[in-house]
Amino acid sequence: MWAKMICLDPRTKLFMVLTVSSLAVFITNLSLLLCVLLLALAAVAFTGGNPLGLLKKLKKFLLIFVVIVFVQSIFTKGGQPVWQVLNFTVVSDLGLVRGLQMILRFFIIISSAAIMTTAKPREIIQGLVQCKIPYELAFMVTIAIRFLPILRDEVNDILTAIQLRGVNLKQIPLMKRLKTYAYLIMPMITSVLLKAQELSVAMEMRAFRAYPRRTSLRTLKMQKQDYLIIALCFFVFLLVVVLALKIK
């Protein structure tokens, strides 16, 4: 909604992502982490993304989260048992806390990455370059993004092809499983390598890396709203850090 009226520079979005991600990494208090997550989701909505859709997608990871809580409980010493099976602690309170921390951090980082998807890739490259990042790196990142859907389709085709050859992926005997995966990796890697090679030749034949710098058809200019948002990010960052220290 508002995003249509307010156009943010990709560098601003990058800043938002950095703010939120670094808070996620350093904060340990669960309620503060939850606040940061809500802020991240709000930022996604503000930049024109779809926070609810994101949450729906994350539902798929529920099983992994449960496993994480178990693993943290079993391997973290100290902490009172919350659930025991035959005198063996399956879930401890410390494990629960650690597990939830990891989950919340994961959610926050994914949400903040979603902020970047609201920016046009060519603009992201330009933003990175105007931040003095070498353009080769910037291009590498966006080309990877550009090819992801193609790679996903290819992976699907490869999985389909091997099943059509009579391989039932859901019931491979344990011994043969590793070998089977090796067979799948072969076409995947080869296709990526071939593409990369052809693309890099095509780019070089259009003078890529002719000079250490390159110009751009469109340049980015920071505007009032960008500075405002960046200032807001600073403020939020300091606020959360102060709260975190106070709670300690």
């Binding site: 091997i162 059509l164 009579g166 072969m186 080869t190 296709s191």
Partner: protein, 217 residues
């Protein structure tokens, strides 16, 4: 026999690629599917191969509904040759490519060798039996993929643009292979826009355009 009963297909709710298609493909026949790019040729091919399930309607392979069949069961009825042979080559040598599935299923070694030797002879791959498949030419890769698919003895083959990137002589080799398969009674559905090739082999031509499938000549 492949039967499509009132089949409609869409990837997203507002874009129906195929609408209410009724079709019967007879055993042993060679049917070509033509039409503009993006018009639904590949989708039709994948529906016939059971790779895609219809959004509405049913597809029957030898009287079995594709909705009841898992992908790994389809391979013995219908083989599908992707346009890019690289997507269906998995092993490090040509020999291994032909053998690995039977190996995974723990078939007897002598039986595996027998079948592999037969396939190598038939598809003129004996010379390259120990080569790394990705170093083969496009035509050889294609023959390898075909040989591998035919190991399962499907009664139908669906080929997606098999003549792309083949020069005249390789097309001739492909033509010979297709004639042999026809003689064996293997039905084929070939998606192509190569007119000469179509003329040489088609028993029936289907035109797919705007969601509809029509017989043309």
């Amino acid at each position: 026999m492949i039967v499509l009963e009132n089949v409609s297909f869409c990837y997203t709710a507002d874009n129906w690629i195929l609408k209410q298609v009724d079709l019967e493909i007879a055993n042993g026949s060679c049917t070509f599917v033509v039409g503009p790019n993006g018009g639904g040729k590949t989708t039709l091919g994948k529906l016939m191969a059971g790779i895609l399930k219809p959004s509405l309607g049913d597809v029957y392979l030898e009287q079995q509904n594709t909705k009841d069949l898992a992908l790994f069961q389809i391979g013995t009825k219908v083989g599908y040759l992707f346009q890019e042979p690289e997507r269906q080559i998995f092993a490090a040598t040509v020999r291994d490519e032909l053998a690995f599935v039977m190996d995974l299923k723990e078939m007897a070694k002598e039986e595996i060798n027998k079948r592999v030797e037969a396939a190598l002879e038939r598809f003129q791959l004996k010379e390259v039996e120990n080569s790394y498949p990705f170093q083969l030419s496009r035509g050889e890769k294609q023959r390898l993929a075909l040989a591998a698919i035919l190991m399962h003895q499907p009664s139908f083959l669906i080929l997606d643009e098999p003549t792309t990137g083949l020069d005249l002589e390789r097309k001739e080799i492909l033509s010979q292979v297709i004639r042999q398969l026809k003689e064996q009674g293997i039905g084929m559905v070939i998606i192509s826009h190569d007119e000469k090739f179509i003329q040489n082999h088609a028993d029936r031509i289907l035109m797919v355009d705007g969601g509809e499938v029509k017989d043309v000549g």
